[in-house]
């Protein structure tokens, strides 16, 4: 028979709850840190007593992820924490999971299925904020290149739309090139290298991802570094920020935080325990600028340049605070983990 066709939450039982992380793609550092944080958290109190964790990757393959979730439904997990291969491609199977009484919490590449809870940052604002930083630091005038993300994704669309809105409102800013970096440093570097020699003076760079690659290409071509750069939270980018801020570089680095997964885990746990309403959560981005970036805290010189330096939140109102070993190796940090849901 079909497992639980009822709409209501199945997990009337107490702890431990079985929660599965269904991740699509594992081919970049961000995803790896994110998975590591999940694994690390599961080994830390309070989750170590409360939750039975499992982790699945499917690659960027909707059918594979669908099937994995089908198998999770067959396995009667209590909740699925989901980073989807497609915002829409899994809607069918998510509905099935909901029908089977499984809680689905979707984050990062969030799904549109209405029955899933969503945990995310505001991607439109991401694009907007990066663009506004350029406008402010270029005094509303200059040549800007835009390095976009993976075409056909919602995140890419939203970020671009946010930036476009700002640039349109500031006609002094001229977008002289716009091409994809595929959110990958190597692609961003190659595409920038292919573009660069034919471009006139570049005053600002707006980059969705692979920012360190863009800078590397500019330096390799012996071009002066643009006045203002706004980009993602790659460690390499932040190292460049440290290195060049004395030469007047103005840069902003905003990250999609890998700890979204921890917020989602906490939300799932609280909902299963009946402690939290079934509601979506939007968290603010952690960001640094050339003025605030700090070695050992928001950038690490012994980490790779593709390392995401915003693996943890900081400050008194931090959503969560974790150690670097958790992000890099999936090891639990000492003590108890607290995630503050906003």
């Amino acid at each position: 028979s079909r497992p639980g066709s009822s709409q209501q939450q199945k997990a009337a039982h107490g702890a431990p709850y079985s929660i599965a992380l269904s991740n699509s793609f594992i081919g970049n550092t961000w995803r790896v840190e994110m998975e590591n944080e999940f694994k690390g958290a599961c080994a830390m109190p309070p989750y170590s007593q409360l939750i039975k964790c499992s982790v699945y990757n499917s690659g960027n393959d909707v059918t594979k992820q669908t099937q994995q979730i089908d198998n999770l439904i067959s396995s009667h997990v209590d909740a699925i924490v989901l980073n989807a291969a497609s915002p829409t491609g899994l809607n069918g199977v998510i509905q099935q999971a909901c029908n089977a009484g499984i809680l689905v919490v979707s984050y990062d590449n969030v799904v549109t299925a209405p029955c899933a809870l969503k945990v995310n940052t505001d991607q439109y604002k991401f694009g907007q904020q990066l663009a506004q930083f350029l406008v402010d630091n270029l005094q509303g005038k200059g040549n800007v290149i835009m390095v976009t993300g993976v075409a056909g994704t919602d995140v890419d669309q939203q970020r671009n739309a946010g930036a476009d809105a700002v640039f349109k409102a500031n006609p002094g800013i001229k977008v002289i090139a716009r091409y994809t970096g595929m959110w990958a440093s190597d692609v961003a570097e190659r595409n920038t290298a292919a573009q660069l020699p034919s471009l006139e003076k570049i005053d600002g760079v707006w980059c969705q991802g692979g920012t360190d690659g863009v800078i590397r290409a500019i330096l390799a071509a012996h071009r002066p570094l643009p006045k203002a750069i706004s980009g993602e939270a790659e460690n390499g980018f932040r190292q460049y920020m440290l290195q060049y801020r004395s030469q007047g570089l103005k840069a902003m680095s905003i990250g999609q935080p890998p700890f979204l997964v921890l917020v989602s885990l906490e939300l799932a746990t609280q909902v299963l325990q009946g402690k939290h309403a079934k509601a979506d959560i939007t968290i603010p981005f952690p960001y640094v600028t050339t003025d605030t970036v700090k070695e050992g805290e928001t950038t690490f010189k012994d980490q790779s340049s593709s390392f995401f330096a915003d693996f943890t939140d900081s400050g008194p109102n931090a959503v969560v605070s974790v150690c670097v070993e958790m992000a890099t190796q999936g090891k639990p940090c000492p003590g108890t983990l607290t995630v503050k849901l906003p």
Binding site: I26, G27, N28, T29, R31, V32, E35, N36, N57, T148, A151, G152, A177, R178, Y179, T180, A184, S185, D186, V187, E189, R190, N191, A193, A194, Q195, L196, P197, S198, L199, G213, R216, A220, A221, D302, Q303, S304, S305, S306, F307, T328, Q329, G330
Partner: protein, 329 residues
């Protein structure tokens, strides 16, 4: 005057089909540079051309292996993750130290060749169709990289390519042109030499034309197949090294764009996918053609979707102009 014209036409007609394809591919490249230069004169500056050629060299290095494999009528779909695995191996074993580079680089090349040879082994001894063997190998290498690096979380995964290797590719020793171009030129000369002047080259063409006839003429079909797939792996590894040197670090999925590009470069260059016909000079033109085409489209700020469509259409048009098969009787 008229006699001169006749000799000109004569020599064109004496060219083989693949030679004509190669020539026209170069013509297409020049046309592209002109189109790009019209929009932005800087496009045809020496440093830009050098930069674009360096980018083309990555496709070109992969295409070197692919050319060998396609010439014997095979195909290598394992390129993306062999390349990727070897790139990861380079950084994780060299740890970014020049002192290790002297043995790590050969190690990576040899291992790439060994993996390619395993492809050859399956194809030769178990009659596995090349498409299946290399597709499977691609998955195996992908799984191994993900699994062994724990999803790229290993302690050494952050390492960069040794500075010496970086300089060898991205440095600029002559005329402000990237050193990687020199590497590519050397590879091109070697590949050209192997294909045209050695017993191996002769046997490759023989095998690609007719495996049975080649076998009956004493060609060691198994050994040649084996060597050719090993070369496929070797050049994937070399491309992996070059790419890592260029981008400093290895990343997961860095080989993915090179599968269809390498095949397309080979075919655009006039080599027959059925084997036995073609050469590496064509593949070089094909690689440059693809990279410059993308750069031109990027110039004109065409959207991702539009770029994809135009790339497809331009490839088709170019092939319709010169890549047509002879009508069968």
């Amino acid at each position: 005057m008229s006699t001169q014209r006749r000799t000109l036409r004569f020599s064109w007609q004496r060219l083989s089909r693949s030679q004509r394809g190669t020539l026209l591919a170069y013509v297409a490249v020049i046309v592209l540079f002109i189109v790009g230069g019209i929009y932005r004169p800087g496009f045809v500056r020496l440093d830009n051309i050098g930069q674009l050629l360096l980018l083309a060299s990555f496709v070109g290095l992969v295409a070197a292996g692919q050319t060998f494999v396609i010439l014997i009528g095979g195909i290598d779909l394992s390129v993306p993750w062999v390349l990727n695995a070897m790139a990861v191996l380079l950084t994780t074993t060299s740890l970014g130290q020049d002192s290790r580079a002297w043995w790590v680089v050969p190690l990576v090349l040899v291992l790439g060749a060994v993996i390619g040879a395993v492809n050859g082994l399956g194809i030769v001894f178990f009659d596995i169709p090349p498409v299946v063997m290399t597709l499977g190998m691609n998955g195996i290498m992908q799984g191994l990289v993900l699994g062994l690096t724990g999803g790229f979380t290993c302690a050494t995964c952050n390492s960069v390519a040794p500075p010496a290797v970086q300089t060898a590719i991205a440095g600029q020793a002559v005329l402000g042109l990237p050193n990687g171009l020199l590497v590519w030129i050397i590879v091109a000369l070697l590949v050209g030499l192997v294909l045209s002047a050695t017993t191996l080259g002769r046997r490759i063409y023989a095998l690609g034309n007719n495996a049975v006839a080649a076998y009956l003429a004493g060609v060691n079909v198994r050994a040649v197949t084996f060597i050719v797939y090993a070369l496929g792996g070797l050049f994937a590894a070399l491309a992996g090294i070059a790419l890592t040197a260029f981008g400093q670090q290895a990343t997961l999925g860095m080989g993915d764009p090179f599968l269809f590009d390498s095949i397309a470069a080979v075919v655009i260059g006039g080599t027959s996918i059925l084997g036995g016909r073609g050469n590496y000079w064509g593949s070089i033109a094909g690689a440059i053609f693809l990279v410059v085409l993308r750069a031109v489209l990027q110039q004109y700020s065409i959207s991702e979707a539009g770029r994809s469509i135009v790339t497809g259409v331009v490839i088709l048009v170019a092939l319709l102009l010169y890549g047509r098969e002879a009508r069968e009787v």
